[in-house]
């Protein structure tokens, strides 16, 4: 395919999808190891009420209030889950189930109650985003990548998700040692003076920021898939955290690129006329990667290193 077609129509969605996938997969590694993988699931559900409330307050679809609303809702959900867990002495999974389903239901109810017929805000959109629509109209070909006039017309989602990715990477890089130690041995981390409670909260908030930014661009289904599938697949490949993160980033890129291409062009190759949902396809590909890793990955069993099982 030529640059005239590829750059305006596919380059930006592809980049946004890839960045979103990596931004979610990075904190996902730690969440999976800490057995908190479902935090991503909970956050992506409670983003909906946050966005609806932000819309009700500002009365318009504008990005920053909505992202603030979503971030506020995720923090509130985390706090509520913790409160329900401690006050009610309920196990964490059930507490999570109580909180996120209720908040999601409240979001749906609010959405039905308000008149959103004039604006583009509905549950389906929140669930599977609209990656395909993030096109770069000002581009004419590969030369536009260096053209400042055309660059000004880039979809704002791209810079946001790129910034988020940078922030998430920075967080993981800066707090690498404490994160690693507290993930594997929380007691030891406390004895050498790491404040594990604060660090755990910071990790969850980082994950929430990544989820909200990714959600804005690609919908919540990718968010859940990318939090869990690439790290889980990477976990089957190695016993070292550094290698695992490298694998997970590779898997995230692979699912984003393959998923997008298959969704956009796969049906055409099969003779159908229209593309299918890119977000759904990316999640599906990440699941296939996980399936392969679970069947043939060298470190897939609980015993750990290959040969010792």
């Amino acid at each position: 395919m030529s640059g005239e077609e590829f750059v305006p129509l596919s380059l930006t969605p592809l980049l946004i999808g890839t960045f979103a996938a990596i931004a979610c997969a990075l904190p996902g590694n730690f969440l999976v190891l800490r057995k908190q993988a479902l935090i991503g699931d909970a956050i992506s559900h409670v983003v909906l009420p946050g966005i609806v409330v932000a819309f009700l307050v500002t009365g318009a679809i504008s990005t920053w209030p909505m992202m603030l609303g979503a971030a506020g809702a995720s923090v509130m959900a985390v706090v509520l889950i913790e409160a329900v867990r401690r006050l009610g002495q309920i196990e964490a999974g059930a507490a999570m189930g109580v909180v996120f389903t209720t908040m999601f239901a409240a979001g749906v109810l609010l959405l039905e109650q308000t008149d959103t017929s004039t604006v583009h805000l509905d549950v389906e959109h929140a669930l599977y985003g609209n990656l395909e629509s993030l096109i770069w109209l000002d581009a004419t070909g590969w030369s536009s990548v260096l053209d400042p006039v055309a660059l000004a017309g880039l979809p704002p989602e791209l810079s946001r998700i790129a910034l988020t990715l940078l922030g998430v990477s920075l967080f993981v890089w800066l707090f690498w040692r404490p994160l690693k130690i507290s993930t594997f041995d929380e007691g030891f981390a406390r004895t050498i003076g790491i404040r594990t409670g604060v660090l755990g909260m910071a990790l969850v908030i980082t994950a929430a920021i990544a989820a909200v930014a990714a959600f804005d661009a690609v919908g919540s289904i990718i968010v859940i898939a990318m939090f869990i599938c690439p790290p889980a697949a990477a976990r089957m490949m190695t016993n070292r955290l550094e290698t695992q993160i490298a694998w997970s980033v590779a898997f995230a890129i692979l699912s984003a690129v393959f998923g997008y291409v298959l969704a956009g062009y796969g049906p055409l190759w099969l003779g159908a006329a229209d593309a299918v949902s890119a977000a759904g396809m990316i999640a599906t590909i990440s699941g296939l990667i996980l399936a392969f890793a679970a069947l043939w990955g060298p470190c897939r069993t609980r015993a750990g290193a290959p040969g010792t099982a």
Partner: protein
Amino acid sequence: MLWDALTLQLGYNATLVAIGATLLGVSAGVTGTFLFLRKRALVSDAISHATLPGVCLGFMVLVAFGGDGRNLIGLLAGSAVSAWIGLLCMNWLTRHTRLAEDAAIGAVLSVFFGFGIVLLTVIQTMGVGRQAGLEGFLLGSTAGMLWADALIIAIGGAATLLLVMIIRRPMTMVAFDPEYAAARGLPVHRIDLAMMGLVMAVTVVGLKIVGLILIVALLIIPPVTARFWSERSDRVVLLAGLAGGLAGYLGAALSASAPNLPTGPIIVLVSFGFFALSMFLAPVRGVLAAVLRHMRFQRRVHIRQGLLALAQGQKIYEPLTLRLLRRAGLARADGVATETGKARAAKALRDEKRWEIVRADQTHEATAALYDGLRDIETVLTRDQIAEIDRLIGGPQEVPA
């Protein structure tokens, strides 16, 4: 309007929905209890999301064979098949790989749901009309519910309840102590699968009313609510059924009483209302009860310490202690003991001395372990034993002039 809805006077459709939602709430609450007691509540999340590809495939197969794509039985059968596959995937991932259950749940949930969305877009581009009903399975849609749909829900719900009643004993045992159950020769793995199968049945039955995202709430919230009120598993099961049924009934009635109130979310919010009430008001495990218990304990500690201070002639600086003593008529505002106060203080000091002797004596070891600074010694020793100790302490001594 609300009264009409509650007494099922709002017409045919509203009545069908209310009955269906009540039955669904009961069976979801009862089934969910075992899942909750097994500490696997979020498994229902994976199961419910895994129904989506089945619904879509069911629709495609129905259309391909020239049938009506919205045939509820066909769609539900499809959703059951894909939920079962998702369940097996999740089980396999947790048993045969190093992944923990939460990662397996999340992986199955997101991948199946993503695949379902791909299929949904395929259906949209297939060009056959009347696919509009499929999105209804995400959040439930009760508007066009038919008599046949209600019948399916009723039969499905009743069958699930019956099955739960039949295998409730092994399920309870596995939920509380899987090792013991295995030692007794129960097929733990198969019972777990049966439990999940029942959850799947409830999910499939509930797709029409509350949709696949919110059915999780009906499986989790009523059991958690019921758990506040009882420590006995059979009662928790009954109460969860009751809470679920009530939430379903009230929610359906509320949503029928005004426009723009979607049934599924309202049912979830009503059941959360029950949960919040229970969390604060339940007699033993509730927050209010815990706060009261704490305050009672605090009062006892303060009065006890205040009495000991009075007996030893020390000044009391803590305002709460002083206030409590005054209110009990044991001390005056300036901190001087009243007559009863003096008597109680002397008794407290003597009890403390008695405890000291008990704790120093090896033969009273078991009793000494009960000492917490508050327990009245009369509640743990007989009158003879106390008299014995008093002989050791001796009577009041003469003060040298």
